[in-house]
Chain length 233, copies 2
Amino acid sequence: MTEPRRAVCLLSGGLDSATCLAYARREGFECYALSFDYGQRHHIELSAAARVAESLGAAKHLVIPLDLRVFGNSALTSSEIEVPKARDEHEMGQGIPVTYVPARNTIFLSLALAWAEVLEASDIFLGVNAIDYSDYPDCRPEFIDAFTRMANLATKAGVEGRTKLSIHTPLILLSKAQIVALAQELGLDFSLTHSCYDPDSSGAACGQCDSCQLRLKGFAEAGIRDTVRYASW
Amino acid sequence: MTEPRRAVCLLSGGLDSATCLAYARREGFECYALSFDYGQRHHIELSAAARVAESLGAAKHLVIPLDLRVFGNSALTSSEIEVPKARDEHEMGQGIPVTYVPARNTIFLSLALAWAEVLEASDIFLGVNAIDYSDYPDCRPEFIDAFTRMANLATKAGVEGRTKLSIHTPLILLSKAQIVALAQELGLDFSLTHSCYDPDSSGAACGQCDSCQLRLKGFAEAGIRDTVRYASW
C-alpha cells in the first residue's frame, strides 16, 4: 500500500479555502492545513478554520502567529480603516481594494513552502480566485506561476531535483457561483465557514461587506441556500 | 531638495548583513532595517542587529516575531540538533548543511516586500552570499532573480506600474575576504556584529563552528584584525 501524498493547504476558514481543502481531500491528499493569526479583527475566522479542518479530516491544523499589523495599511488588519459597506459592483471593480494586505499571499505561500519542505510534501493548495472583482494582484495566475518557479529554486528538494513543487489553485478561474456549486458537490458544510469582514459580536455575518455580498450573490446564482448565520437585516 | 529613497534592509546582526546595510547607506538610501525573532538559539544575534542598526543610522529597526520552530528541522532553530564544529573545508562543501532553515530567505524577503510596499520603497537589500561553501539554495543569483520577478507580480506597485522592485545583493559573488575588506572600507565596527552559531554564555564567539571559521578565514585572508570577542581557545 502506498502512502498518501501530503499537501499543505492554506486555510482561512472562508468558503473558498474550505472548498479548496475539500477538493484536495477528494484528490486523495493527506492534508496539512495552515492558518495565520495575523492580527485579524476577528478570531471568528480562526475558529471557522479549526472547525473546517476537523470536519474535512485534515491530518493536522497549524496556526502560525504572525502579526501583520506591524506594517499597518489595511482594513483587514488595522482597526483605524473602515471596512467598506454596501458598495455596488461598479465600485468593487475599481482598482485594488483597501482590504488588500501587502504581499499577503506571498507571505502565506512562503510559510507553506517551509512547512512543505519539512513534511517532504510537494503540493500546496491555495483557494485564490482571480474572478469576481477580487482585484488582488497576488491572486492572479501569473503571480502563482512566478511563485512556483521561485519556490523550485528556493528549496533543497528543488535544487536536489527530488521533487518539483506544485501550487494548486483549483478555484482560480471559477465564479463564486461555480465555487458554491463545487463546494456543494464536495459535501462542504457551509455553516462551518466564515467569510464576513465585519461580523457582529455574536459572530453573525453582516451581509453587507464586499465579502458577504459576493458570497450571497454566488449562492443566489448557484440556486443553493447558504447555511451560515447572518445578522437580521 | 529631493527625499532620500527608502530601502528595506534585512539585518541579522552578522557581518554580511551589517556590511550590506552599510553599503545601502553609502548608496544614499534611507534604511529600514528588518530582523526576525525566529526562535534563534541566541538573542545575542538580535542585540547585535539592534547595535548595528543604530550605529549605521537606520531610520527604523523592526523586529518581527516569527517562530520557525513550529516547523522543526534545522540546527539554527531546534535545540535538538547539534551545531557541527571544526569541520574542514571539504566537509563544509558537501551539500546543503543542517543549519539550513527551510525557505528562510523566501520568508524573510516576503515580509521585507510587505514592508517595502507600505513604505512605498522599491529597494530591498539582502546580504546573501553564494560563495564560501554556503550551499543554501536560497542564496543563489537565480533564486534572487526569480523572487524579484514574482515580487513584481505580487504587489500593487508592480501591477499599477508605479515602481519596479529591485532586490540588491551586493555581496552575492564576493569571497569572505572581499566582504571583510568592503566592510572595512565602509567603516563598519566589526565588534558590533555577531556571526557565531554557538556563542558561550557571555556572548563570546566559539571560533569553531562553520560560521566562525569562515569569518576567521576571511579576516586572515584580508589581512584585517577581527575585533569581535572570541572565547579563549
